[in-house]
């Protein structure tokens, strides 16, 4: 359980919190630099590098050609040479053109070298739907990255967490995949829900990987989720509270490592589990959490529901996308189901 300290005077969007962490680390160390498409003059398509060019210039905020195999692989090489690159893959959906570098190089070199090599890089990437960008630009793909050994996988849901997790990601000597949900960034043209914008201390701090955060305490049902759906689950919890159902909402924050203790502790208390994810249902986060609980707390478990994308590519049209991405009502319904 992380302490939630709030700076009383200042709130930041998630994108600004990430940028603040990156800028601080770049001032601290010449070894930290950023590479990606449209990260310099544009400031990142989703504002993940907004304003960094002004302070650090094109040398350290590097726009690169549209050649992900090339520049992500170059990130691996630079990291192995002792630098700390932050490399942006504009959309997680684009992983297909560069996955070889990501999971056969970045993720495995430390292990294959028996620990002789380290790959201290951050792969930062945008995930998520809800704005009708269709099948090739809307996926979360949490499970895809978390499934493959050798990468730490981080999914922040608030500005406070994003800053602390980003500091930790840059300082960590291992490859970290930092998956941010576009809808949480606070971009002008994609309004965020209430919630991701939080107080953020000006001083640097780290949030350890593998520590989930209990976003709302409750005694009846455990809701485990991450990313955008933390906020949807909290909204659902408010609705449920009016019906007298007290839901606990757990934000995983990192998938690798995974904080199973917090989840198990909660399930032992409530006996009921709902897992919510924006990734595909099969072979993904929801199944993993349910399996973990079944292994270690079967006796405490009275009812389970999982909500995720059905096994279909993400459709474009509004009514279709709304159908497949779990909404606040869907979460509330799932909780009522397990509540019985």
């Amino acid at each position: 359980m992380a302490q939630k300290t709030q700076s009383a005077e200042r709130e930041l969007t998630m994108s600004r919190a990430m940028v603040e962490a990156i800028a601080t680390e770049m001032r601290e160390s010449e070894e930290v630099f950023v590479m990606g498409e449209d990260i310099a003059d544009y400031g990142g398509i989703f504002d993940s590098t907004q304003g960094l060019l002004d302070e650090f210039g094109h040398e350290r905020i590097m726009d690169v050609p549209i050649a992900e195999t090339g520049f992500i692989g170059a990130g691996v090489g630079a990291a192995q040479s002792g630098m700390r690159p932050i490399v942006e893959l504009m959309f997680a959906d684009f992983f297909g053109v560069c996955m070889d570098q990501i999971y056969n190089n970045m993720a495995k070199n430390t292990y294959m070298s028996g620990g002789a090599f380290s790959v201290p890089m951050v792969l930062m990437t945008a995930v998520g739907g809800t704005y009708n960008d269709a099948a090739q630009h809307s996926q979360t793909l949490y499970g895809t990255f978390a499934h493959l050994p050798g990468m730490k996988v981080v999914v922040p849901s608030t500005a406070y967490d994003a800053k602390g997790l980003m500091h930790n990601a840059i300082r960590d000597d291992d490859p970290v995949v930092f998956m941010f949900h576009k809808r949480l960034m606070g971009i002008g043209w994609m309004p965020a829900p209430d919630g991701p914008k939080t107080g953020v201390p000006e001083d640097p701090y780290t949030i350890p990987f593998g520590e989930a955060s209990v976003q709302r305490e409750g005694s009846d049902v455990t809701v485990v989720t991450l990313g955008l759906h933390v906020h949807r689950a909290l909204d659902a919890a408010e609705t449920l509270a009016d019906d007298g159902i007290d839901a606990e909402v757990i934000d995983l924050r990192t998938l690798k490592p995974l904080d199973t203790d917090t989840v198990l502790e909660s399930v032992r208390k409530t006996g009921r589990l709902v897992v919510v994810d924006e990734d595909y249902r099969s072979y993904g986060v929801t199944g993993e959490i349910v399996a973990t609980v079944a292994e270690d707390a079967l006796a405490d478990l009275e009812a389970v529901e999982r909500l995720a994308l059905p096994d279909v590519p993400i459709p474009y049209s509004r009514p279709l996308e709304d159908e497949v991405i779990p909404g606040v009502e869907d979460i509330a319904d799932a909780v009522r189901m397990v509540q019985g």
Binding site: E9, T13, G188, W189, P191, K197
Partner: protein, 85 residues
């Protein structure tokens, strides 16, 4: 101690080369009652897809937010008031 109220205005920072006379408040970074330093980022506005940060014109207390998040405003409008110290 003078209790002078300073307006947080947008006319001077309106993006050039736009014909748009309306903008929208995207994000507030400080709440009413917070103390701010001159030059602090108070909020972010968007005019015709261009985002602009609005900085505090004076140090003091943000006593009133006139235009909250998602509200629309024109060039001459005041977004908020600061009581300067």
């Amino acid at each position: 101690m003078s209790d002078e109220r300073v307006a947080v205005a947008v006319d001077d920072i309106w993006p050039e080369d736009t014909d748009e006379d309306e903008g929208v408040v995207v994000n507030w970074f400080v709440r009413e009652g917070a103390s701010v330093e001159e030059g602090d980022t108070l909020c972010e506005i968007q005019v015709e897809k261009v985002s602009v940060d609005v900085l505090a014109p004076a140090s003091g207390e943000l006593v009133e937010v006139v235009r909250g998040e998602d509200s629309e405003f024109g060039r001459g409008d005041t977004l908020a008031w600061i009581r300067s110290e």
